[in-house]
């Protein structure tokens, strides 16, 4: 269906279902209970899951298929964001033109960066892209302050031109919308003690995620995707057979840059502001982590990886000392304090530490990322002749490592 094999279509259906029912899935604990701390079903975080999912899917098309490790992908996300916010400031608050422009501009920018960087491969390619990203960051932070707003960034203002929109009534604010549908509009559903929030912005981001995921499946399964895998497995042999691999790599680079641009545009659509630190090298590193954590070269891995990282960043980082004390207050005093001291370095601002440990564990024990973990568990439950089938699954999902 939709030009997909049965298995891929099932995967697409799973992702679609996850995206559509995210408000339920992410809010499993009733409001006001102690576990409500772990609920992630509020609009901002759900939007982030979708946006960074798109970003990681795009990155995976480059890194997972061709093996070119770009350390500067955040630059495309940032450029897309700046393009989107300027579109919303100058033209209209409707997010469609903003998102279109962000994809186009990020595509053009990645064409330039890719054209230069792809002359080298391996570590030199990574360093070149990193240099470009840091350059963009520095430019946005200070040199280009009139365009980028410098450290303070850009936001929508009351006195922006917005030539296509009607003038604002007094007291009215400029809101990102899709033909009048406000991105912040939410519908809350109460179900006993449970609360579920359905946010307009999230569903638009989720629709983009599903579309992005579908496109990525098509690319993975196309002859073009096969060519990209060939680049990864043996570029030299490709050259000897008379094929010029660079245009293919460049195409993959531009496609993944456009994905990043779409993610950047969506970020602005959901939250109308841009700051330069979006392009900082740590942001580029984050998407590499997401992809490897989930499973590079697999279809769903990057989405899982970005979900895990964003969950930790937003949920684990908010557990502070007093919450820990509340949790363990039923214990005897000495034990409570000891346990809190033991756990405290790993929560709150220490979430980076927890993430680091998880990442290490995954890389050491599950080189194929979370997807491999899932497959191993699946294999355990599928005894009857499952072993060979599971091996085949892995071979289908992952590329042979060199």
């Amino acid at each position: 269906m939709l030009g997909l094999t049965k298995k891929d279509f099932a995967l697409l259906l799973v992702v679609t279902a996850l995206a559509l029912f995210a408000p339920f899935i992410l809010n499993p604990f009733p409001e006001g209970s102690g576990m409500a701390q772990f609920n992630a079903g509020y609009p901002d975080l759900m939007q982030r899951f979708a946006i960074f999912g798109i970003f990681a899917i795009g990155f995976n098309i480059l890194f997972g298929l061709t093996g070119y490790l770009s350390f500067g992908h955040a630059a495309f996300l940032g450029v897309g964001s700046y393009a989107a916010i300027w579109m919303m400031k100058l033209l209209t608050d409707n997010i469609l033109p903003a998102m279109l422009l962000s994809v186009v501009i990020a595509g053009l920018f990645s064409l330039v960066v890719g054209y230069i960087s792809l002359r080298r491969s391996g570590i030199y390619f990574a360093i070149l892209t990193l240099a470009f990203a840091q350059m963009s960051y520095a430019l946005a932070y200070s040199v280009l302050t009139p365009i980028t707003g410098g450290e303070t960034g850009l936001q929508l203002k009351l006195n922006d031109p917005r030539i296509l929109d009607a003038a604002l009534a007094p007291g009215e604010r400029a809101n990102a919308n899709l033909f009048g549908l406000d991105m912040t509009a939410s519908h809350e559903l109460y179900f006993g003690a449970w609360q579920f929030t359905f946010n307009a912005g999230y569903y638009i981001a989720a629709a983009c995620l599903i579309l992005a995921f579908y496109l990525s499946i098509r690319i993975f399964r196309s002859p073009f995707g096969m060519m990209l895998r060939a680049i990864k497995s043996n570029n030299t042999r490709m050259t000897y057979t008379g094929l010029n691999a660079r245009p293919y790599a460049l195409a993959a680079f531009v496609i993944s840059g456009m994905y990043a641009g779409l993610a950047g545009g969506l970020m602005v659509a959901m939250d109308t502001q841009v700051g330069p630190e979006r392009m900082f090298w740590t942001a580029s590193g984050e998407v590499v982590l997401m992809t490897i954590l989930g499973g590079a070269g697999t279809l769903i891995g990057p989405v899982l990886g970005s979900g895990v990282i964003k969950y930790m960043e937003n949920i684990i980082s908010k557990i502070n000392g007093s919450i820990l004390h509340e949790w363990f207050s039923w214990m005897p005093d000495g034990l409570e304090d000891a346990l809190v001291t033991l756990i405290y370095p790993f929560v709150g601002k220490g979430w980076h530490l927890t993430l680091g440990i998880v990442f290490m564990l995954v890389v050491i024990f599950l080189p194929g990322g979370l997807v491999e973990g899932g497959q191993r568990i699946g294999r355990m439950f599928r005894r009857n002749g499952g072993a060979s089938r599971a091996a085949k699954d892995i071979a289908e999902q992952r590329n042979p490592a060199e």
């Binding site: 975080l45 200070s142 450290e151 006195n159 007094p170 179900f191 709150g348």
Partner: protein, 452 residues
């Protein structure tokens, strides 16, 4: 494809979906009170959004201490701190409007995106009615804009750039801390008195918004009193070694170096400048001087004895009441309860955060409502005293506090690590007041937004 198999699982699924559909209208609930996060239980949640990691983590930690102390005092715990000296007696120590104050914390990482994500989760998930904090202007401006959109009150913490209540001011945002313009205006007369009116100044400026506005303010004020600006050089924010920037200062014929730096930048550039022996030099027959427009205790600690004799400005200092008298009452009450709880005196970041929390609570009490628009009305044009800065006005036109500015100098022989600066002078509020519509502060406040 029409194959209808009745299975137990299928039936359960269908009935669950049908049940949810039926329950939908019953459980629809509009926000009560007509504004975002109207508190409906017997508690009210405040969001403390401070940098817990990154370059300003120390300041963030001190801000958090102050917030926790403020919550304790609002709920009637401790000795009440500045609530005893505050000119308004609306606060009773029974929470805010009888609701117990609770709080959530978040890490801004000194990045606008992270700060907004953290603030959004406070608003959307934890139901915070007010957000406060920040140790950088970029973050403050970003979170203030977010609060404006969401219909939440933002009480800025430490943010010194003009833009927070200038070009980026917002109706839902309020700033108690002073700004670059005020630093310039407060320092100029002291500089004229100490170093004379015929000086040649050389600026090193951190290459970002706060640096620009501070350099601008310092140039304007010093040039107005007769100083000449020889050169102004921008330094990258990530610079750690400033030697290559200091060397040309000696050749330029300047006799004053103004370091528009903050945090680690300032510690490093000042240390380099002192190591180059600038302070022992005599240029144009005058002693060479160094000025740091914005001082902070934590930076002074970092720079160690290099800070001695260097002039700068502060929003507040913990010795203010002892040295400058009763006008600054509240200072000692705050220092005492902070010291008792944590064992050392509070920084100016802690003071501004503590005061902002009290001011918000007081405004809610006086307005009789948590509605942001009612709070805005209660704070606009509000004159108060007894919070450590002397008589203060929250100006309606830009939501900026106007109060005295402290000019300080690094001590020659500090007695301990908390007593690093001496108060040179306190510049009265009317000297640092400006018209709200001067070009540096052009912006639109907009109208208050109560949200949904």
């Amino acid at each position: 494809m029409s194959k209808s198999n009745f299975t137990r699982r299928g039936l359960l699924k269908t009935s669950a979906v049908a049940g949810a559909g039926l329950a939908l209208p019953t459980y629809l609930r509009a926000q009560e009170g007509g504004f975002t996060n109207a508190p409906d239980g017997d508690t009210v949640t405040l969001g403390f959004n401070v940098p817990q990691s990154g370059p300003y983590a120390d300041e963030g930690a001190d801000e958090l201490r102050a917030y926790e102390l403020a919550v304790e005092h609002l709920n009637g715990g401790g000795d009440g701190g500045m609530m005893q000296t505050f000119s308004s007696d609306a606060l009773q120590g029974n929470g805010i409007m009888g609701k117990k104050v609770e709080f959530v914390t978040g890490d801004t990482q000194t990045k606008s995106d992270a700060a907004r994500a953290s603030a959004k989760s406070m608003i959307e998930k934890d139901g915070a009615i007010m957000i406060t904090g920040g140790s950088s202007s970029g973050v403050a401006v970003a979170v203030q804009a977010l609060c404006q959109e969401a219909g939440i009150i933002f009480m800025a913490g430490l943010t010194h750039s003009n833009d927070t209540t200038g070009k980026d001011k917002k109706a839902n945002g309020f700033r108690h801390f002073f700004n670059s313009w005020m630093s310039g205006a407060a320092l100029a007369p002291v500089l004229a008195g100490e170093y004379g009116k015929d000086r040649k100044a050389y600026h090193l400026t951190a290459d970002y918004n706060w640096g620009y506005t501070t350099e601008d303010a310092m140039r304007k004020e010093t040039e107005a009193m007769g100083w000449e600006t020889v050169n102004a050089v921008k330094t990258p924010l990530t610079q750690t070694d400033f030697s290559s920037y200091i060397a040309p200062v000696l050749q330029s014929g300047a006799d004053v170096l103004i370091l528009n730096h903050y945090g680690g930048n300032m510690v490093n550039s000042l240390t380099n400048a002192v190591q180059f022996g600038l302070r022992e030099k005599t240029v144009n027959g005058k002693q060479f001087e160094i000025i740091v427009p914005l001082y902070s205790e934590l930076m002074a600690r970092g720079a160690g004895k290099n800070i001695s004799g260097i002039l700068g400005s502060q929003n507040w200092d913990w010795k203010l009441e002892n040295e400058k008298g009763d006008r600054y009452k509240g200072t000692n009450a705050f220092v005492q309860s902070f010291g008792e709880k944590y064992g050392f005196p509070p920084s100016q970041a802690a003071q501004t955060c503590y005061v902002q929390t009290l001011l918000y609570a007081d405004a809610v009490e006086r307005a009789g409502s948590f509605n942001p628009c009612a709070v805005v009305e209660a704070l606009e044009g509000y004159e108060f005293d007894g919070l450590g800065n002397g008589p203060t006005l929250y100006r309606a036109a830009d939501h900026q506090c106007f109060k005295d500015v402290v000019v300080v100098r690094g001590k020659e022989n500090p007695e301990n690590e908390f007593d690093l600066v001496e108060i040179v002078e306190v510049t009265p509020a009317e000297k640092v007041t400006y018209e709200p519509d001067i070009p540096e502060f052009e912006g639109t406040l907009g109208e208050c937004n109560p949200g949904a």
